[in-house]
Amino acid sequence: MPEMSPQTPAATPVTSPAGTGADPAADGDLLLDVRHLVQEFVVRDYGGAKGGVLQAVSDVSFELRAGETLGIVGETGSGKSTLARSVIQAPPPKQGAVIFQGQDLVGLPPRAMKPVRRDLQMVFQDPFTSLDPKWTVSRIVREPLNAYGLGSGRERRDRVNSLLELVGLDPAGYGRRHPRELSGGQAQRVAIARALVLEPKLILCDEPVSSLDVLVQAQVLNLLEKLRSELGLSYLFIAHDLALVKQVSDRVAVMYLGKLCEIGPVRDIYRQPLHPYTLALLTSIPSADPPAGKRDARTVIRGELPSPLDPPSGCRFRTRCPRAQERCATEAPRLRALGADGHLVACHFPLSDAPGTPDGSPASAGATAQDAPAAVRR
């Protein structure tokens, strides 16, 4: 087999999480540590003149522990996909650090990224554009093994078969098919099998079920959940649907226009959203229960996402925020701890100034929110 020998799992100096699944709780090893990540793209005008800088991700930091799932929600254009792509260095971010298993990926030469990508795989939204239409299913799933030179031909075949089995596809029936002969759900299962074949530690799922029908979506979600608990995987799960994110996540991060608004344990975010944008997202979910879902019960945010070429000063959400005040335009709110443990919010006037656990709100980052108006939670 070519160069990369299977047993060197990247140049991993520090922690090597054992991936002891089943328990997503708090104390897994730190798997991914993203610090002050900034991703920008230069937009060109006619003739190639610099037209502006699109600030796709601005100073985003978060951690992900082994066995944990972090959900990232936000609207189109909030930078959530760019964030995931910056994590896998495609393309590398402009600033900041992406520390994966103790190693900073930013600035690594492509050759050094290859072993890292073994542990860091991605599942995309549209399986039909992320699978080669001319390849058979088994070749698609086997390809990463070939690329890393893992196992003998027979071992690869067995591995491919067992993975297809694992994602619920009969290898005999589906292995020789082409993507066009699959339904959306089946194709997404193939994409998941391909991501799993190298036994990664972390899978970045970018809207993995958004293009699927409800029943198929539930099947794929359950599959991801089953794989997580059986294989001890971690996910960075990107979606625009808060209800869906809740189903898979331990913690949730809410993004708006390239910034983190709020991040925290999933139960706290849903029970006690602190950022007005999170509340707006939550109330925009059509409820399956008609009376509760009727229009008057909701706070629909007005307006449109501002241009990331020229984001609003101060808090980026202020142009659409029902609680915005003068201070929001002049001073960008910093992410600070508020409420329950590990619940951070970037807002001058968060929704709950006296959260359920008053003792657990060390207002850090120099912002004391006590001058906020009494939070009327709608």
Partner: protein, 363 residues
């Protein structure tokens, strides 16, 4: 509006069978239909497609009515026939489609109309908003021109009047600075704004029925809420009936009065949105409701799912089409297809063994 691209025919409304011109004078009032006459009456609609030797039975006998000003939702998975049914109502099906049954719009049979008459039917009587606004808009035309095109096709307005109408329509769909936006191109607008333009085009000629085919599926939740609110507001202002087509049961239930659930080309349950959630009968609907992740569930809870896939519509099997996937299926389900019947007032279902313990057995 039917894809503003397609309509180059500039002839005046031919005095062909299309009755609409007679009734066109009171467009904007709820309940404009004569008492008791439904706006749209679909009965035993069947659509088949022939392709390479096999016949696909896309719609297998559906019947329903829409009253003036009503909001009805059709939900179902991909391939359940909901979009094909909508296309049949618009007269947009390709020639290869074999349509039988009847679709009456204010008493006029749509199925038999010729292309010329259908062009008058679309836009003035029934208009449609499609899923993908990028594909419904012409990328090389200013949005104002796309609206005036639709307006002038149907209404006797001059160039300037039509342009004024376009601005008015853009204002109606709550697009800020409509005078300026008129001269912009679709790529300069966000997805939500584009969908508003599509809605403006659809409403340009004050249709009495608006079909929204997955109109918000491609949009974000917040934008989805805005667009749905807009549609409902406009519906109330204009008295338009709204037919929502969606795969999202929760969305349908929170906006529509009545919901039809389609599976494999048939309607399997029909009820008010309320009843559908409080007293769901058809196991398929039950499965749809259960499969949606909800914000009130605990994390990492597995969703109740049913296996299998919708049946192949090119083979006709006896029995209930859902039986192979149904957790409650019994012998009789596989032998005879249950008819859609009104078992409770306003609540129809097609099932021999409906859910709900208190359900009185079956036929």
């Amino acid at each position: 509006m039917t894809g503003p691209l397609g309509q180059r025919v500039r002839r005046r409304a031919a005095p062909s069978p299309a009755a609409p011109s007679a009734e066109r004078d009171e467009p904007a009032h709820p309940g404009s239909g004569p008492g008791g006459t439904p706006l749209l009456e679909v009965s035993d609609l069947r659509v088949r497609f022939r392709s390479r030797g096999s016949v696909v039975n896309a719609v297998q006998g559906i019947s329903f009515t829409i009253e003036p000003g009503q909001t009805l939702a059709i939900i179902g998975e991909s391939g359940s026939g909901k979009t094909v049914s909508a296309y049949a109502m618009m007269g947009l099906l390709p020639r290869t489609a074999q349509v039988s049954g009847s679709i009456r719009f204010k008493g006029v049979e749509i199925v038999e109309l010729g292309e010329r008459a259908l062009q008058d039917h679309r836009g003035r009587n029934v208009a449609m908003v499609f899923q993908n606004p990028e594909r419904s808009l012409n990328p090389t035309m200013q949005i104002g021109a796309q609206i005036t095109e639709a307006v002038r096709r149907h209404l006797p307005l001059g160039r300037q009047q039509a342009a004024d109408r376009a601005v008015e329509l853009l204002r109606m769909v709550r697009i800020p600075a409509p005078e300026r936006r008129c001269h912009e191109y679709p790529h300069q607008l966000s997805g939500g704004m584009r969908q508003r333009v599509v809605i403006a085009i659809a409403l340009a000629c004050e249709p009495q029925l608006l079909i929204a085919d997955e109109a918000t599926t491609a949009l974000d939740v917040t934008t989805q809420a805005q667009i749905m609110d807009l549609l409902l507001d406009l519906q109330q202002e204009l008295g338009t009936a709204l037919l929502m087509i969606s795969h999202d049961l929760a969305l349908a239930a929170s906006y529509a009065e009545e919901v039809l659930v389609m599976y494999a080309g048939r309607v399997v349950e029909r009820a008010s949105a309320r009843d559908l959630f409080d007293r769901v009968r058809m196991p398929y609907t039950r499965a749809l409701i259960d499969a949606v992740p909800r914000a009130d569930l605990e994390p990492h809870v597995l969703l109740p799912v049913i296996g299998g896939r919708p049946p192949d519509l090119s083979t006709v099997t006896p029995g209930c089409s859902f039986a192979p996937r149904c957790p409650d299926a019994q012998q009789d389900c596989r032998q005879q297809a249950p008819p859609l019947e009104e078992h409770e007032i306003g609540h129809w279902w097609a099932c021999w063994h409906p859910c709900g313990s208190e359900a009185p057995g079956d036929a």
